[in-house]
Every structure is written in C-alpha cells, then in structure tokens.
Amino acid sequence: MNARSALRALLVGVAAAAASPAAAAGARGGTLQAVQQRRELRWGADVFGGAPYVFQDPMDPNHLVGFEVELADAIARRLGAKARPAAGAWDKLLDLLARGDFDVALNGIEVAEEKRRVCLLSRPYYAAGERLSVRRGDPGAPRTLEAVKGRRVGALPGSLAQRILERAGAVVVTYDGGQDQIYDDLRLGRTDAVLLDDPIAHYYADVQPELETVPGSFGEVRYAVAVRLGDEALRDAIDGALSELARTGRLRALYQRWGIWNAETAALLGEPPPARPGLAEAWEAWRAAVGRPPSLRERLLVRYPRTFGLFARAAGLTLLLTLSSMALAMAVGALLAAARRYGAAPVRWLAVGVIELVRGTPLLVQLIMIYFGLPELGVKLDPFVAGWLGLGLNYAAAEAENYRAGLESVPVGQGEVATTLGLSRLQALRHVIAPQALRIAVPPMTNDVIALLKDSSLVSLVTLTELTKTYSNLAASMRDHLGLGLVVAAWYLLLGLPLARLGRLAERRLGRHLRRAAA
C-alpha cells in the first residue's frame, strides 16, 4: 500500500510537472470568461473521506456536503455562476487542475511557496492549527514534538503536517486519502499518533471516545483556492469574492455552523478571537451520524438502500468500461497475434516488442502516462477514453498471447489442406484455423474479462467514480468499511457471474464437436 502510493505520487509528480506548462498555456486568459459564459464554476475536490471539507452526507450519500461545498457555492454566486464539483484524488488535485479537468481546486489546499510554481493561489480563506491525536490513556503516547522522534505517526501525503513530523524525526505513515483510516490505524495501535489539520481532528478524532487530542497547536496551515497559472483574472475575482464574504461575516457564520471557527482563522480575517464555541449544528449532525455505528437494522433498512443509486450508476460505468475495454483488447489482441504469427520479420518483432512492453509494465503506470503524460504531447483525452484505452491496450497484450496459444494449437496440416482446397490464407484463417484456435483461447479469455472487471477499479485514478471508488468514498463518509464492503462485493459478483457464465456457454458451443451427444 505504502510503496504503491509512493510510486504513484512520484510518477504523477513527474508526469504532471512536465504536463502543466502545456495545459496552462492552453487555458491562458480565458477561464474567468469561460466560467461566466457557461455560468458554471467547476471546482475540483476529493470526496474521499473529506469531512468537514467535502464529503457525502452519511445520512444520504447522494448529497455532497461540507463547508467547502458551501464556500464554493458562495464564491460561484459572486462570479455569476453555479458551482459544480468535480472529483479527483486529493494529492493529485493540482495535476488535474493543470490538465484542465476543472477551473479551480478548492479542497484544503495548503498555502506553500513551492505550489506557486504550478498554480496561482488566492488569498487564504481558512487557517488551521496542526493537532496531535493519541490513544486515550496510552501512557507512552507522544504528546510533544520532541516525543514523536522515532515514533510512527500518521499524516496526509504532501501536507504541512508531514513536513513538521519529518523535521521532528518521526516515522511518517501517509495515507492515500481516507482520513478515517488514519485514525483507525491509531486506534488499532498501528501508529502511535496522528498529526492533522484542526478540522480533520475535530471531525475524525474527537468523535471517537478512544482517542484524545493533545491541547495546543503544532503549526499553522492556511488554505487557499488554486487556479491555473496565467488565470490572474479568475484569481483576482475569487480574491474579491472571499474579501466580501469575510467583510460581511458570512465566512465566520459558515465556519461556526461547521464548528471549525478558531483563533487562527479569526486572526486571519481580522476578527476578535472566539470566546466560547457556540452551537455548531453541522458538526452535531455529523457526530450524530457517525459517532456510534448505526444498528444493523438501520444500515440494512435505511442506509444501504440509499446507496443503491450511487452503486448502480457506478456498476453501469464499471460494466461499460469492462465490456468496451475487452472489445478493444480482443480487436487489438487479434491483430497483434496475427502479426506475430503471420507477419514478416520486422512486423513480428514489432508485435513482440509491443506485447512485452505492455505486458511487462504495470497498468497503473500506463494509465498515469496516458492521462497525465500524453497532454505533454498535446493529446488530452477524456477520462473515460483514457481509462478505456489504458485498460483495453493493457489487456490486448494478454489477449494476443491467448490467441497465439490458440493459433499454435492448430496443426499445420489444417492450413495446408485448406490451401490445397483453394482457400486463401485469410479464408483458411477465418473458416478453419480461427474457430479451432478460439476454443483454446476462450477459457483464458473468460478469466481475463473477470480480471478486467476488477482491474477497472484502477481508473479511479483518472477521476472515474466506478464501483471501488464509490465504495471507498461511501465507506469513508459513512464510516462503515465492512458492511459496505459486502455490499460492493455483491455488486461485483452481480456483474462478474453472468460474464463467467457467458464464457462457459461460448466454451461449450465451440467444443460441441467433442461431445458424444452431438452425433
């Protein structure tokens, strides 16, 4: 998990660093105008475990809620537009922004000098202290910055908290997203402490009686809206909107409602420090929804049924992606196999090279290269097309090898007899060799369809919310990993079992000449 996420972060970083100038240049000058023309502000955020920022309402996951949802709405209104959220992994939001997937990134993006190389930042809209959470009653718990040296401490990747911890000599454990999992690991003793921004600690640590948050702040982080390089006009418009929201007290009211109004933000907005926490209705609602796991009855009768629409849509996407990618894999695979078996020497080498290259590198790397790397060459693909191409081409290599095995299983004499009967090579392939080769190739093909169905989960990287991504989003916002895990397993089986059955039918049909009953 850790090695994978590190590799992913590295590759995305490399791909995006190279891709951003091109994408930014393409968008120059026009984003504010575009937003006002289409009367829609597309803002990128990670809905994966993002309370209180952006998350699915645990009571009804069909709705996206969070203080940044309300902030985005307020900013968009002042730009004369409606806000429309777009999903992306948190540590890739700036890459997706540079790629042009949305107009702004607004999701706890920390103000940091090095970010100004890849994007423009608005004035900060929120300031948070870094809070250290530990297990309640743990005598060995590190409670100071000095004490974390050599201890395992959880944080979000690329965050200020991570840098603070590394400077203090802690063994930092970073997570792909789910803030819930960070605190779960602390509760289960896999880490000794967690250092995260105040709002996160408030929403994930403070609702768990087993955890406590050490008083005081370990550092301060500020959040800003990120826009593409060259979009000064949009940045200025957003600054104007934020100033007005601060001046009229709307920002304070918003933060108070979510229970995250703090001294740091008060100082940032030039207001007196908060006296006593008032009633934060949104926080209370969150606490009521996730503080204690709901009963099985409530889950089965109320919560899971509400996930039906989300899962059904995701299952549709997963199925569509699986079938269309398999079709592509079969077509390209057949060409590669034919080239490898019947082509002239250079064609053969080319086919072998392509097969070995595609088969020998991880699908994840290929997807990142297609989605984040190709824009460098001016090729910007739609997420679905990128996912379809990545999966289809990756599996084409496997299909090519299946077909090759099938073709090689047909005796040479079959083709020779067809030739003596006057069939051309193509006719012999189509009517004599392919039907026999297919019988050998079908069982591994069935296997591949099922594997493809599962590998399609990797396309969440290119912002497609398919079944697995839907599950991890829901599990984080509803804080229910086991129950929803069974639900998503059922959805996968619902898709996979008919495909397996279809494969067996094809196998029987192609092998009917071997059955006694046929005569």
């Binding site: 007899v417 003596t420 009967l421 006719q427 071997l514």
Partner: protein, 229 residues
Amino acid sequence: MIRVDALVKRYASLAAPALRRVSFEVASGQLVAILGRSGAGKSTLLRCLVGLERFDEGTVEVDGVAVRAEDGPRGLRVLHGRVGLVPQSLDLFPHLSALDNCTLAPRIVKGERRADAEARASRLLGRLGLEAEQGAYPEHLSGGQRQRVAIARALAMEPRVLLYDEPTSSLDPSLREEVGRTLLTVKESGVTQLVSTHDWEFARSAAEWVLVLEGGAIVREGEPGQIVG
C-alpha cells in the same frame, strides 16, 4: 492427365537434392502408385504436385495447365483446387461435420449456394458409403470413415487429379482391401489418382501402374506384376 518434367527440389538444409529430375506422365483416369521407402522423396513429390512446395527446376502440367519452377510461389496457385490431396494425417476439420467438411471449400472458393453444395457433398458421401455419417463430427468416426470423408472433401472441389499420401499407413491392415475398393469407386468418376505408398503388397493389388522412387529419382516403372521388391 498429369505430366511431370525434370522436377528438381532442393532443401537448403540438405546437401543432396530431395528430387532429382523426376519425370513421368499419368493418363486421365489412371490409378498409379508411387512406391518407395521412407525418405525416398514421396512426400516431397506429392507436396510439389499439390502446390504446397516450390520446386527449383522443371514443370508440372495438369490437363494442359503448366506450372514452371520460374513461375514463383504465385504460380503454384493454379494447382490448388485442381489437384486434390488426402494427407496421411487426413487433417479433417474437427469443428465441422462430415458434410460441412465437404461443403466448406465449394461454398467459399467457388461461391456455390449452400443447398447445391450440400446436395453434391451428400451424393459424394453416399457413394463412399457414408450416408448415415453425414452429420457426424470427425471425432466420432472410425479411421476408415474419416479417410473416406477426407477423400470426399477433396473430390467436392472436382479436381482433375487426386493424390493420396500413404493411405494405408494409419489404418488397420485388415482395411487395406477396403481402401482399394474405395480407390476403384473414385476411379469410376474419371479422376486421375496417384497413391504414394511404401506398401508393396497394396501397390501391386490396387494400382494399374507403379513408379518406384529411390533417392529422389524414379528408378523403375511398370505394371504391378512386373515390379518385384
């Protein structure tokens, strides 16, 4: 009629030529055996006559249509369909019924309508004693039945010449006579037949004329009674 003139075939991997100036002629409707030990060049000769193998020198002529060595690989195509082959391993199409084995090439190569092709194939199979087996897949037929399907499949293309590669080798010895009878049945249709075999007994009993192949050359020929092993 098939006429072979000074046929030479060399393989790059072999020092000696596989065929050295082989010449012979078989009149229309004749049944001729090519007799020789394994390695004598029988299979190579058959592969050249049927257009599966290029030859380096010489000419093959079938009913007035000639293929010369210098015609290249494309030249061999005129032999396809014109010269039929019953391979030693038969190579029936396992995924097709006996009937479909016989109708595939006429339908695809000649564009015959399915009904016409089936009617003709059915008559052919019937003449070879396979009325009841038309719908059966090769897997479910006996060795003798399979061989007759392979013959019917070749005859369905109405070749001028039909070649058999060791037709008795994969069969029970007791079936030798049956093969002989089948060849006579085919002879009634006027097709010229060439049978490659190492089986002296069979060659003597079935053929009208015998060519003896040794070391890639024809060393003797004559009526079956005159050829002595």
